[in-house]
Symmetry: C2
Subunit: 649 residues, 2 copies
């Protein structure tokens, strides 16, 4: 009565038409060296998962891991070259992504330390701050906080209540929390380990408010005791991420030297005057906040990798768990030559992965994870060059993809839990932790709903700029480019075309998604113009919030597909291209399927065409099912990270 | 710097058009006495939530609560009258439902003890078993297990591996786990507290297998030590429900006296012969399993009540949390006379509940929870009379509503967490526990996907019986009754009718849902008939799994609406009727909206009509928003149970 589990039918890996290692090389991309280095580290015995339920013990463990990561030189990657760093955000994100295969509390604590605390000093501060803080930040000798969010204000950062009042007599800023709701909250490292915080506060100079600026404020002494005038409360137990010590901070008229203001974009001069090279307060605020966009990209990348772990566990489980029926009599698999039984199975029931409903639950999300991965690669590549490129367009993309990726992760990990039944509920099988730890990703670094509205607003602003001065007829021509125009000229055929070749064509997918996005954009613009006649801008946007969110979704889906297709077009390995094409078809068609009501409502598809798409998604699921185990193998997740008994041989 | 939170705008409760207490009386229904008694109990100081993270401490606490519940006489409710009980399952479910406002581990441990262990003895056993076990079960002196699920078989109970072999010489059954995968798993009370288990095993008499039967097997001695030949392993930490001690059990040739077989439906005689009044082995199996349908109803009711707690927390939070904009300039609320500011707010930003997207996320689920509640009331009422009524029809309804209610709970509680942002992630605000503890409801007491297939199969069988011998033309006439026929005769008008009165009409909602259900049923029947020509039944069903699930969903949605409307029609209070009508409109139209692709594909709606329905859902959300706080007040959840600081004054 050994504790054995049924093995995989060997066919699951043998039948694959592509080389999983080649696909892994493609996914690892340029950053293979750092990914391998991180994997080497997290598979050491010291990195075995914390198994207790005690929060303090878990925090100790994660802090120790942070120090080991720092000792391995990973904190130095983002540092300026002048301080011995590599100034390589793409490499740092690749490290964080790989760590996401392990423990997400560790990823977040590192993100707070390097991305937020270190990042704010580097991007908002100047040489004095860099030299004073960054080396100790990189070595994790000085643990820091990023104190932006307040009890009263999370999403609406411009309305923060904490004040930083410049006092001429002492040449200091007085940092103060005037109310309970001005308290900083959910601040990582504030609960226990942080010594210094980047504090966002309303700057007042000579009685005048200049909006939110950042300041470096010591919060604890070397022994970890809160400094006088600093009140700290622990955020205590959370749904997940209990390895991170989140806390609340209130400041009671804390004085800091003038030089501790992060003064890259604005400063207070020796003579006590406020100066900034950016004239508009709003532009200044968004410039400061915008420098932190890397955090959003990292969160999207991290949660997408956690999603890969969940899919690996659920797909491997489904590839050997049998329930009901007899495989001898079932041919639901696409390939007729799949064996009807195998020596490893102890019964002849049907594999979960051979049920169409199970394929429907797991495989479109699998395709989506690949699509997001390639879209993120593109975004990370641009991250280095954002200072010169089209900043707003980049921020729009980052916000939208962050929202899409994190929503997808939450939904998909939940589905994976359900697909593993009771086994998915057992903590040892890790889906509980994967779900709980990433659940907050839809909220932090920008609440997803707020981000999607930002996306829609940016699209509308850009549209407004482009059509300035045009006549209505011109707008239409400008708007629907030739390809879309052609689509509509052929409409009678197009509406009804159920030809499989047509439906699988990536040109069709992209065109139809672009069409939807453009049509919603145009309709939103018209609705806003009407509405703004009688309402202020905020109210006009608010009443059309549903339509705005629809626009943002249409945009993000199109952008992700576009990036995925672009990446595929660059692949030289024929069998790999074929596999990726299947995934892009499944991604695109399952998105189109879930939006088919829109296409039907707007007369773009006939009912028969919409139904044909649904049947084609079924078929693509059957095809991708045959490569599912090899596809998750290509994620290259170390077994010690997966850890789930149901996912291991 | 007191820890104050903004209060509710008083208008949230004053503007209400109905009396929340009257609505609570309607929800409490016949069982108000037991509900009040349970509330009285769980609001005592001893019932304050366990705050540690230690699993053993939590299990101790829950066991102690179980004893207190038993001492209060609640275990006796389900007992046969001959043993001093009330034999009142509806009352017991009302008690469990109310306990679900408190701690779901407690509900499940009680469910295992009374519903499953006690229930199996009562419904599958006879007088000997009743007298021997039930009094100690009721007083919680004897804690018991319900050992059905095995490592290798969860959903497919007929394929269990555990054997019970009758041995003539000793007049005993030998209970044995022949393999690792035959081990019982996820068995509540098995981890620590259980002493006796109802064990489901393949009965073999004289070398012949008679299928799965139930036996009472002692598993631990009085000191809690596993008995010789019994191997027990703890299921350890789980995603949630850590107050319940789930465990695994293997039996090594354990002998039990013949009398310990639960012999109501089948027995082994003194002379060692197998006898049963039910001839068909399959009918016998389903009769035995079917007696346990009460568990499904209880799980649905319990998780729907947890969902009420989550909605109460999220809606109360949204009714005083402000973010962005200025309420002075926003009129997104339906009633123009709502105040634009109030003395309790410390700023003039917009309430979350006034954002259309927030309304869309929370209010259709609120309406759904009401709809499910009334559908469950109907089901519970029928529970008492199932032995005489149409058993299969009742089981179909129970399976479908269980799946619908638990999926709705998981999705809605997740949404509530996200709607509360960072606050929703803090354990003290309870959404984490509500989600984690109910997450398994979609899996246990029948995996939802398996249950929905069962629903669809039952609908197809019933259909097959009804049309037996009919000609195709007759089938059509039989199938689409006059109302549906009329709908189609008026089709040109009906397809395009965007009139609000028409769209809000409950007759329209029900008719259109019935039409969808019937059309999918007919198409599934045709598809099955085609497919069964070349495939065995299992395969034929499997390849059309997506369509089967669609049929089951269409059926359940229709049943729930029907029951909700029926309940509303019996209400005599005009203002209450009006409020409930709004809720039923929102429930029905948001279901129809989410299935609008189907209606469009099948030419039932024009695109314009579908879009009008979407706009009407927006409008209904604005209307229901005005009563949202009063509606969650009507759930009557004690503050000490809600416990979340963000939900309290």
């Amino acid at each position: 009565m050994e504790s054995i589990r049924p093995g995989y039918p060997p066919i699951e890996r043998k039948a694959t038409t592509f080389d999983p290692e080649a696909l892994q090389r493609l996914l690892d991309g340029d950053q293979v060296e750092i990914r391998d280095r991180v994997k080497q580290l997290i598979t050491q015995p010291e990195f075995r998962y914390y198994e207790g339920t005690d929060v303090e013990g878990y925090r100790d463990q994660v802090l120790q891991w942070v120090k080991q990561i720092a000792d391995a030189g990973i904190g130095r990657i983002g540092l300026p070259r002048s301080l011995g760093g590599e100034e390589n955000p793409a490499k740092f994100i690749a490290a964080a992504e790989t760590l996401a295969f392990h423990d997400f509390s560790l990823v977040i604590k590192l993100g707070v330390q390097y991305g937020l605390f270190g990042g704010s000093i580097q991007l908002l501060g100047t040489e004095y701050h860099h030299k004073k803080y960054l080396p100790d930040c990189a070595s994790a000798k000085l643990m820091g906080c990023f104190a932006m969010t307040e009890i009263g204000h999370g999403s609406n950062v411009q309305a923060l209540e904490t004040t930083a009042t410049y006092e001429k007599a002492t040449d200091t800023f007085v940092i103060n929390s005037p109310t309970y709701s001005a308290g900083k909250t959910f601040i990582g490292n504030a609960g226990r380990d942080g010594r210094v915080a980047t504090v966002f506060a309303q700057l007042e100079v000579n009685g005048q408010n200049h909006g939110v600026h950042a300041f470096l404020v010591p919060v604890r002494d070397d022994n970890g005791k809160a400094l006088p005038g600093i009140r700290i409360e622990d955020n205590d137990v959370k749904l997940g991420l209990n390895g991170v010590d989140n806390g609340q901070i209130w400041f009671d008229h804390i004085r800091i030297p003038r030089i501790e203001m992060l003064n890259r974009f604005a400063d207070v001069t020796d003579s006590g005057q406020y100066v900034s090279a950016i004239q508009s307060p709003s532009a200044r605020f968004f410039t400061m906040i915008g420098t932190l966009v890397g955090g959003r990209v990292s969160i999207a990348a991290g949660s997408n990798n956690v999603c890969k772990s969940a899919l690996t566990i659920a797909i491997r489980y489904a590839a050997r768990r049998r329930q009901f029926g007899s495989s001898a009599s079932v041919t639901v698999s696409a390939s007729e030559d799949r064996p009807t039984g195998d020596p490893h199975s102890h019964s002849l029931e049907t594999l979960l992965l051979d049920y169409p409903a199970h394929q429907r639950r797991l495989l479109p999300p699998l395709a989506t994870v690949f699509a997001i991965d390639f879209a993120l690669k593109h975004l990370i590549q641009q991250l280095g060059s954002t200072r010169t490129g089209d900043r707003r367009s980049f921020e729009t993309k980052a916000a939208g993809i962050k929202a899409f990726a994190t929503w997808n992760a939450t939904r998909t990990i939940q589905t994976c839990r359900e697909c593993c039944g009771g086994e998915g509920y057992i903590a040892a099988n890790r889906l509980a932790a994967l779900k709980a730890d990433t659940d907050i990703c839809t909220t932090f670094e920008g609440d997803n709903t707020v981000l999607m509205q930002l996306v829609a607003k940016n699209l509308l602003s850009k549209f407004k700029e482009k059509i300035k001065g045009m006549q209505p007829a011109q707008i239409g021509r400008f708007f629907f480019d030739q390809k879309l125009d052609a689509l509509f000229k052929q409409n009678p055929i197009f509406r009804r075309n159920e030809n499989e070749e047509h439906l699988l064509d990536s040109e069709f997918h992209l065109t139809i998604m672009q069409f939807r996005e453009s049509a919603i954009l145009l309709s939103c613009a018209q609705e806003f113009r009407e509405s703004a006649k009688t309402k202020d801008v905020f109210s006009a946007f608010t009443i059309m919030q549903r339509q705005m969110l629809e626009l943002a979704h249409a945009y993000v889906e199109r952008v992700i597909l576009e990036r995925f297709l672009e990446a595929i077009s660059k692949v030289n390995d024929h069998s790999l291209t074929k596999t990726l094409e299947h995934l892009s078809q499944l991604f695109a068609l399952s998105q189109i399927e879930s939006n088919r009501a829109w296409y039907l409502e707007h007369g773009v598809f006939s009912g028969a065409k919409a139904r044909a798409i649904t049947r084609l998604v079924d078929k693509l699921c059957r095809e991708v099912r045959n490569e599912a185990v090899a596809l998750v193998d290509s994620f290259g997740i170390p077994d010690s990270c997966l850890a789930a008994p149901i996912a291991l041989e």
